[in-house]
């Protein structure tokens, strides 16, 4: 018996959110007695990276090194994962919620006749049945979902579990999957990816700017603060609507939902739709010149002041320590 974990890669490396999924699966297997954790890696990857998946809790990595799977071709990823799941005889698949993970897991739910629960925030409660807690209403509430199906897919939300680093290197086994032209009928013709940056949905610290930043030319100071903190940068919706920042940085109800340890909001009023994307953060710091800004009600720490004054000082104070 084993739990299968679907891994995602970015530039040959396993994403940190996928490693969290491995740690979640390990704790789940201990709870349910499902045995070991086997992770599935699709596409060309750095083989030395794969062994490290063991640290997070996997005992084995199945490596389907078909280069056509390096890009996230949804249909092909779903077919390959379904085959691995069946040949392993697994009953549970765990993965991190993401752009590709959502698209792939939904198809898998049908292929595997599995109950799919998304946005899972903690290990299931097994005290009476199998009850999964998930985040709903964009972080405004939780739902308890009893699952009766034998096959289950859990798509976990960031920070559902602490990443474990105690395991040992995993054995890496090559795994062949048979894929057809139908699986590759759609083609990814090109990809645009911000390089060298920390990805927003995976970041442990996020620095976001709003309309209070006045213009794109002022983002330099936020970027400097972000790099001092090892943070990703985000923004409010109007900021990406006007084109000051790229769309993939837009945080909120209709954008990226983040769950970092620290979220720093600068010149953002804190409209309910923005808060919906950040309410899973562990700690929120708000910098706004208006003491009445609604964001202060959702914050742990706040500074009432002009961003253009406070940000350089804050960056300097962080650098000084």
């Amino acid at each position: 018996m084993a739990i299968l974990v679907y891994l995602e890669q970015a530039a040959g490396k396993v994403k940190s959110t996928s490693l969290e999924a491995v740690s979640f699966a390990k704790a789940l297997a201990q709870k349910t007695g499902e045995g070991e954790v086997v992770a599935l890696a699709l596409g060309t990857m750095d083989a030395s990276e794969l062994a490290k998946v063991g640290k997070a809790g996997a005992s084995k990595v199945l490596y389907a090194s078909d280069p056509r799977l390096t890009e996230g071709v949804i249909q092909a990823h779903a077919s390959a994962t379904a085959q691995a799941f069946k040949s392993l005889g697994a009953k549970t698949l765990v993965l991190a919620k993401s752009s590709l993970g959502d698209a792939v897991s939904a198809r898998l739910a049908i292929k595997l006749d599995a109950a799919l629960v998304s946005n899972v925030v903690e290990l299931p409660d097994l005290s009476s049945g199998y009850v999964v807690k998930r985040s709903i209403y964009t972080g405004k509430a939780f739902a308890f979902t009893p699952v009766a199906k034998e096959n289950k897919i859990l798509a976990i939300k960031k920070n559902a579990i602490e990443l474990s680093k105690e395991g040992v290197d995993a054995s890496v086994e090559s795994c062949s999957v048979s894929l057809t032209d139908v699986d590759f009928a759609s083609k990814i013709t090109s990809t645009e990816r911000a390089s060298g940056q920390i990805l927003l949905p995976e970041a442990d610290v996020v620095v976001s700017g709003g309309r209070g930043m006045k213009g794109p030319e002022n983002w330099g100071m936020l970027e400097e603060l972000a790099s001092t903190l090892g943070a990703a940068t985000g923004c409010s919706k109007p900021v990406s609507d006007i084109g000051w920042r790229p769309h993939h940085e837009h945080v909120g109800q209709t954008g990226v939902k983040v769950a970092p340890s620290l979220y720093v909001a600068v010149g953002i009023s804190g409209a309910i739709q923005h808060l919906a994307g950040v309410n899973s953060s562990k700690c929120i710091v708000v910098i706004n010149k208006d003491p009445e800004a609604p964001f202060f009600k959702a914050a742990d720490y706040g500074i009432v002041g002009d961003a253009f004054e406070v940000i350089p000082k804050l960056t300097a104070a962080l650098k000084a320590q």
């Binding site: 249909q75 799919l116 998304s118 964009t138 009928a185 759609s186 804050l314 104070a317």
Partner: protein, 245 residues
């Protein structure tokens, strides 16, 4: 081209979420229901595509009678007709089954919906419908153009986007900036009253992951304000109190 756009009926984004009946039901008192914002993008793009290619556009919702004003709004924005599957949308699988059935019966070429509903945020109905129909599915799609059978899309990925080429028929879960939200005009509102809205019964009752009860998050403590000339104190608190640095 025959386009089907799937519409959710969800609480307005500013709604205060509360539950009743021993935390088993959403308290709808004072809640205003809207077309899901992502579905609104899908609908806006669907109207543009219908106008460009001269096809038909059907809006569908799985919901009880109270969702009809939301479907009428979709008609006012530009759908030609509407279908309501008469049932509470129990879970994603249940909804996907109904939508796949409607899509198959009507031989739709393009099935659009939002990337996720803003109530349960599952983000899985598009993929399930695609797999049930045996056709490709994509999400979150931020650009979608159709030329004959060829569909060119941009799909958002973490930190960027990828460009995808595919063939009709397909399913797409949409998000901004695929199109600008459309506000119904007077003529649209008038004509929506007489456009056909058909009610059908569900084809299956099967569910997979229906929520049984709900919980609100613990209330947040109040904010600790730090003087703007004491940023060093903020750094200290983040380190020793919040322990996030």
């Amino acid at each position: 081209m025959k386009i089907l756009v799937c519409i959710t009926h969800v609480p307005d984004t500013t709604s205060k979420i509360q539950f009743t009946a021993n935390n088993t039901k959403l308290d709808t008192a004072g809640v205003q229901f809207i077309i899901g914002p992502y579905d609104d993008y899908a609908l806006a793009r669907a109207v543009e595509l219908r106008d460009e290619t001269g096809g038909t556009l059907t809006a569908v919702n799985v919901g009880e009678a109270e969702t009809e004003p939301t479907l009428r709004k979709a008609l006012a924005i530009g759908a030609d007709d509407a279908i309501r599957v008469n049932s509470f949308p129990k879970d994603s699988y249940f909804v996907a089954k109904q939508l796949a059935h409607i899509a198959k019966e009507g031989s739709y070429d393009l099935i659009l919906m939002g990337r996720e509903s803003i109530d349960f945020n599952g983000g899985m109905v598009h993929g399930m419908v695609g797999e049930l129909l045996g056709i490709p599915s994509f999400s979150p799609v931020m650009k979608l153009d159709v030329e004959g059978k060829r569909v060119s899309m941009a799909r958002e990925i973490e930190g960027g986007k990828e460009y995808v080429e595919a063939q009709l028929p397909l399913v797409a879960g949409c998000q901004e900036p695929i199109a600008e939200w459309k506000i119904p005009n007077m003529r649209g509102i008038m004509s929506a009253r007489t456009k056909p809205l058909t009610v059908v019964e569900p084809v299956s009752q099967e569910t997979q992951a229906e929520a049984a009860s709900f919980q609100l998050p613990a209330a947040k403590g109040s904010v600790k304000l730090i003087d703007k000339d004491q940023v060093g104190e903020l750094v200290r608190l983040l380190k020793v109190e919040a322990k996030v640095l």
